[in-house]
């Protein structure tokens, strides 16, 4: 009887898992399908090689090169900034502050809170700081705001891996006479390089895909920015503006832009896989 019950339980949960996997795959493929179904026919070479011309938003000639380049600038800048700030924080939490578990756990809790804050709040925060400082919408303001927005994600993603590095490795490195910073940046960084690459890619994906935080801070323009102080177009906003148009052709271009964004993220993910496999070979288990 008991055996039968256990088998039934096993069967039930297995079914539940399969169901949820099917659901996730279904939703994902629906999204991808709808983007490609409407977007791919509208995706021309012109779309990715030209900036919007005069009548672009009424269905005339032009493309979204401004948004593609703008998004890449913004996401690269923000990811770099977040990495420069986030990596040392994650190292500090796991190596220098090892002894203060309570403190570190409260930092983790705060970071998780920050992770949960909607990006529009970061946008509004960035915007209010910009007003105080008298700064106009610009690429730099956008980079800083988005960097703040992805920073908790970056730190926690790296932290989660550093947490599981065996303490024996720390002891081994320290007993050779290295200090904590050398241990961080010469030993731990190699042990976790693949995870750090993954963290960078997750953060990059968030940065390039977010519309709300750049709405007030980066602004929008039809030209490609040539300096950090100029407003910059981004793909999510470009999609938003085109989708708001009543003209069918422009709406289709929004889908095409979404397809471009999807391709960029896909490319980044594949790159992450390749890179993390490459850096994984020295890792000790």
């Amino acid at each position: 009887m008991r055996k039968k019950l256990l088998a039934l339980e096993e069967h039930f949960f297995k079914l539940l898992m399969q169901l949820s996997i099917a659901l996730i795959v279904l939703v994902l493929s629906l999204i991808v399908f709808s983007i490609f179904y409407r977007g791919l026919p509208a995706l021309t070479w012109e779309m990715i090689s030209q900036t919007p011309k005069g009548g672009y938003y009424f269905g005339k000639e032009g493309g979204v090169l401004n948004a593609i380049v703008g998004s890449l600038y913004l996401a690269l800048g923000a990811t770099l900034l977040a990495l420069i700030m986030g990596l040392p924080v994650a190292m500090l939490m796991n190596i220098h502050l090892r002894k203060f578990k309570r403190l570190v756990n409260s930092i983790r809790f705060l970071l998780d809170l920050l992770w949960g804050i909607p990006s529009i709040v970061y946008g509004a925060f960035g915007f209010s700081v910009m007003i105080v400082l008298g700064v106009k919408t610009s690429l730099l303001a956008g980079i800083i705001t988005v960097a703040l927005f992805i920073l908790p994600i970056m730190i926690r993603a790296i932290d989660e891996v550093l947490k599981n590095v065996p303490v024996g490795l720390l002891e081994a490195s320290m007993s050779l006479g290295s200090n904590k910073s050398q241990t961080s940046f010469m030993v731990y960084i190699r042990q976790c390089s693949s995870a750090i690459v993954t963290a960078i890619m997750i953060s990059f994906g968030r940065a390039i895909g977010d519309a709300a935080s750049v709405l007030f801070t980066t602004g929008y323009t039809d030209s490609i920015p040539t300096s950090l102080t100029q407003p910059t177009a981004t793909l999510p906003l470009s999609i938003f503006f085109q989708l708001s148009s009543p003209i069918r052709e422009v709406q289709n271009r929004a889908y095409a832009s979404a397809a471009i964004l999807t391709f960029i993220i896909l490319f980044i993910s594949v790159l992450a896989r390749v890179l993390s496999n490459k850096y994984n070979k020295n890792k000790i288990s």
């Binding site: 090892r98 002894k99 203060f100 578990k101 065996p166 303490v167 024996g168 490795l169 720390l170 002891e171 081994a172 490195s173 320290m174 007993s175 050779l176 006479g177 290295s178 200090n179 050398q182 010469m186 030993v187 190699r190 042990q191 070979k281 020295n282 890792k283 000790i284 288990s285």
Partner: protein, 251 residues
Amino acid sequence: MEYKISIQNLNLSIGKNKILKDINLNIPKNQVTVILGPSGCGKTTLLKCLNRLIDLEENVNISGNIFLDGEDILHTKSDLPGIRKKMGLLSQRPYPLPMNIYDNIAYGLRINGLHNKHLICESVENHLKQVSLWDEVKDRLKEPASRLSIGQQQRLCLARGLAVEPEIILADEPTSALDPLSSTAIEKKFIELKQDYTLVMVTHILRQARRIADYVVFMYLGEIVEHGTADEFFNHPKQEQTKAYLQGTFN
């Protein structure tokens, strides 16, 4: 007998647990000192006090003194890396650094300020030869150290420790993860090494202690029950607990 390390009235507690109680011990120079005892008696903690890795633990309360060649190493705040560098560490299971075999040894040299490629190369070769690993790895120095067998990894860790020119080698059950052949290799190495180094080894294997110990310390529940030269300890133990432990009737 000349002493390398002198431990005086060492008490250590983590939170409310007393781990070490009134440890007084002199560790002789250029000999193999073996710390014996059942699991959880504070052997590893004592070892960690010597190279100050205990600093990495939480809620540690420590009192007493440890002198290395007459110099206080327990309370000084300066130059911890310098103190640790003097004591090579061999842990229960080998933790090679996440680099290739060559860099595993070169790392310690580089962080200690050696940048001459030629000298590093020479030192790597010498120390790999010193632990009899050179012939096994000379053609694969650029391979990740994690691909070596556990026994090879442990010898690599020993070589890595020796490369930074320590004075003492601390070993925490260094053979517990190894096969008998690799264990014997490590033990043989230890006996050779005592010419130039002071060795302190923690073990719970009685027969291993008999094979290589010059000086034996027997610990139980955070206290030193008995210590003496290997001959005294194994052949004429004074304490009842020691006798029981040696006969295997200890509980």
